[in-house]
């Protein structure tokens, strides 16, 4: 993507340079078709040239056990008894949801380290990242990870490089069962509702779409078998950007900026009214 596509930038009050309007995109993950084969994990590794460490087995099928700076997507497995004696093995592909109102971007103090493109993709620009970890705090879904190797934050880019040239993200391209679709946000929302309806018809009464409004909607959506209970698959029910981040960006930051401005103005006044501070000769020598 290019700067002309950038709609929002972290750590900057200057208007974003984006002048292009391109359709918003979305990835849709259909939980009912996902078999947890991890082909998406391998595709992600291979497209992005990431190779995580070979870990160990800690008693679960989730491998690696968590998202890492080199593992941007991960299958999470949940054995739940949704009703008495009714076991379900729910499998969710975890990774960045690319919020319309991204908590990470809001929290990030480094100018241009996190950008949101007009197609909705939220991308980390690592050369601008200062490794402060505010994005981790700002994310309602616990997605970004800081690399110990270079002290920068990493997460799924929704394959912004592929999308920029008209291709679907690597995970979508690879998914063998059609559990992941990609298209315009509008098309994906329509298809998601259709799938949720089909699942309710099949007997999954709680089926629905996960596109939480608290973060302005997301550009990675889910069709969940139990959308009424997203916490079953480790998703927050009503996610929102944390109050601290909202306060910082929404209320405190303008005040802080105003205070900084006021301080500068006071200095200027002092200069005009009192004149420059003069340095005595002997003080110069001491310095």
């Amino acid at each position: 993507m290019q700067s002309l596509d950038v709609k929002a930038r972290s750590g900057s009050t200057a208007p974003a340079p984006g002048v292009r309007t391109i359709p918003e995109v979305a990835k849709l993950i259909d939980e009912s078709k996902c078999i947890g084969c991890k082909a998406c994990q391998v595709a992600c590794m291979n497209w992005n040239d990431l190779r995580d460490e070979v870990g160990t087995n800690i008693g679960v099928y989730d491998n690696p056990a968590d998202l890492t700076p080199s593992s941007w997507t991960l299958m999470r497995f949940f054995e739940v008894e949704t009703e008495k004696d009714k076991l379900e093995w729910l499998i969710r592909k975890d990774g960045c949801l690319h919020c319309a109102d991204p908590g990470c971007l809001k929290a990030c103090p480094a100018p241009g380290a996190i950008v949101k493109y007009s197609n909705g993709i939220v991308d980390f620009v690592s050369e601008n990242c200062i490794g402060c970890g505010y994005c981790v705090t700002g994310c309602p879904f616990n997605v970004p990870r800081i690399s110990k190797a270079d002290n920068k934050a990493y997460k799924c880019s929704l394959c912004s490089d592929r999308v920029a040239v008209g291709q679907a993200p690597a995970c979508v391209k690879t998914c063998p069962t059609g559990a992941i679709s990609f298209g315009s946000k509008e098309d994906m929302s329509i298809y998601a509702e259709k799938r949720a309806g089909e699942l309710r018809e099949r007997g999954h009464k709680g089926a629905g779409v996960y596109d939480p409004k608290g973060v302005g909607g997301t550009h990675v959506m889910y069709v969940l078998k139990h959308a009424d209970r997203p916490e079953l698959v480790g998703l927050p029910k009503d996610p929102s950007v944390s109050t601290m981040v909202t306060l910082w960006k929404g209320v405190i930051k303008p005040i802080a900026t105003a205070l900084m401005g006021a301080a500068a103005f006071a200095g200027f006044l002092h200069y005009v009214m009192v004149g420059p501070k003069e340095v005595k000769e002997d003080e110069k020598e001491d310095a």
């Binding site: 078999i35 093995w89 069962t177």
Partner: protein
Amino acid sequence: MTNNWVDIKNTDLVLIMGGNAAEAHPCGFKWVTEAMQQRKAKLIVVDPRFTRSAAVADTYAPVRVGADIAFLGGVINYLLANNKFHEEYVKAYTDATFLTKEGFNFDNGVFSGYDDAKRTYNRATWGYQLGEDGFVKVDDAMQDARCVFQQMKKHYSRYTPELVEQVAGTPKDAFLKIAQQIGETSAPNKVMTILYALGWTQHTVGSQNIRTMAMIQLLLGNMGRPGGGVNALRGHANVQGITDMCAYSDTLPGYLGAPLDGDVDRAAYLKRLTGKPLRPNQMAFTQNFPKWHTSLMKAWWGDAANKDNDFAFEYLPKKDAAYDILHMFELMHQGKMHGFVCQGFNPLAALPNKKKLSAALAKLKFLVVADPLETETSEFWKNFGPLNDVDPKTIQTEVFRLPTTTFAEESGSFTNSSRVLQWKEKAADAPGEGKADSEIMARIFVKMREMYRKDGGKAPEPIVNLSWPYQVAEAPSPAEILREYSGRALVDLMTLPNPKDPTAKPTVAVPAGQLSSFAQLRDDGTTACGNWLYCGSWSPAGNLTARRDNSDPSGLGVYPNWGYSWPANRRILYNRAAADTKGNHWDATRKYLSWNGKTWSGVDVPDMRPTAAPEENVGPFIMNPEGVARLHAIGMADGPFPEHYEPFETPLGVNPLHPNNPKAVSNPAARVYKGDMETFGKAAEFPYAATTYRLTEHHHFWTKHAHSNAVTQPAPFIEIGDDLAKEKGFKNGQMVKVRSNRGEVRAALVVTKRMKGLKVNGKTVHTVGIPIHWGFKGVTQNGYLANALTPYVGDANSQTPEFKAFLVNIEKA
């Protein structure tokens, strides 16, 4: 597969049992999700574990490892007792109406003709009654007590829902719910498909597991129909191709029976294997056996196979015993086999009882391993601590490692589970000295031929006379080899004499050159064909396996011009059965093949003589001399009707169906070698049922060498249910030791709700799950080979080892 991958989308009901398609065949599983979304098909999974397939299923039920026939026999009983079978289909397309011999019976767990000492059956009393006309006697009303239908009904009447629960551990309610759903597909407008894999084959009753399912599909009228069939999901990209080429001792390419010691000459051999109709008007397609076999001999020995020398019949080895892989390692273990060439195969990991395998390899004089990777087999002589605790000083076997190309480093064709040959081009050169397997074999052959030519030796003719027409003798090209399989006319083939017009002058029927169909093969030495089933894959029009036309005019997923599907580019086998007895479609949503008044026509190549009018009653199962499918199968080693037998290591100690017959506990016809019976454990010492399986993240013992795969499933583990973990005081993630009577493995523990103890025959049977995939070479964490635990015994018919059901104990490591 009798059908094909894409065809799964045409079904109304998918049953996954004896396999775990989502886990082991994720790409093909897309057609299951397609059927579920587009056709609103339902998915049923029956498995000892709640698998990844079960995760997306509508219905799941547990079954005890090794008790599939109890479950499926229960389904047969349900269908017959509740009149849920497809009567028109069963009467016309199966042997249900045929009368069985008077002497045939089944008593206390064994069929008539059992020889206790040899552990084999004399099958003389099995099979059909023949009339004086040479045809089978039938009772169209299916009322005669000797007819197959009544015999089958009697046999399975014992398999009540209560018995299913008692033996298989499947709760009665869950069983009945599934049986009912299956039964609904007996309606002519409903079809079910069954997907299975090694979960059925790797048992001492493996072939019978599959047969039981085949019987169910026949009773339901689901064979030969779009969305139906019995579908084996093969394990490698080209394992179907290996089977088709029959690199086994039992068969020649194209499933032609190999000569036996008793076949004194070509005539005797051909007579034994050439079919003749057992019912009027049947095609009995194996009548053509002499054409296929003669053409094979011409492909192998060219001019050296001719009328004067019985088409080189004497060049073929005559089989005096089964030379399956278990038998080979048995001979090796006995010190009777001195050399072993091991190509694309890792037997130290892939066969049962590692201890015995390791001892066998150590007795060899030489071992050649041709493989792209370092395998456990090639390193069997090295000490890897407890993972491979051998003393190299005591092993004298000389090991040669020949690096080969991987699939991406050579051109050629794959034959997939759908029987479709697909050509692919080489993507990269092999690193280092890697050579294609064909080149390695060719170089060895050329060298050996030179030695035989120079020094003579015992029976040099088959070697020195072998047809070797390749441009570069030491590196035959895959294209040359496929053309040879596909076959050619050696001369212009003239029309055969017409009895109606004896004076007619023969004309050229087929010009010399590549053939387009096995129908053109002849038994007079004028055609050569390396595999009759592949005949036509490289036709005069060129390499049809390289076709990539993805048009599907019917919308039924036929793709007739994509690759080449054997036989005859047919996409669904037995597809005559896709139409009713009058030749009309069974169902309007799946119009596949029908009789148009003059010929059979439809969207696929008819599996029928095109001009055979329905009133001629030519049966759809043309490879059987009776023309119909067999519910009573005389060809099986262990009984014409499948019966439940316990695994050789049984957690029950008895067969609940025959509690008073110790000879009928486990398969009476399974082969057990001397010394192996003693290595089987008993439930008192090894109380838990164990099973091995594959995980989606890995491909056998290969991808442990790939970093991406290693990240997604890095280390070995053992799976048990949370109920057993609680009982034993085990915690998730802790190290445990699993022991069988043959060895042990240690790994981290995964405690899951997805495995539960099952109430079986009055006791609780817990299952211990042991994924394979790890070893002592590769980039994953190293691990114990799972086959340290498994018993050295195989299926009575195919000798496929019993990897899926044995006994272990589990303790803290």
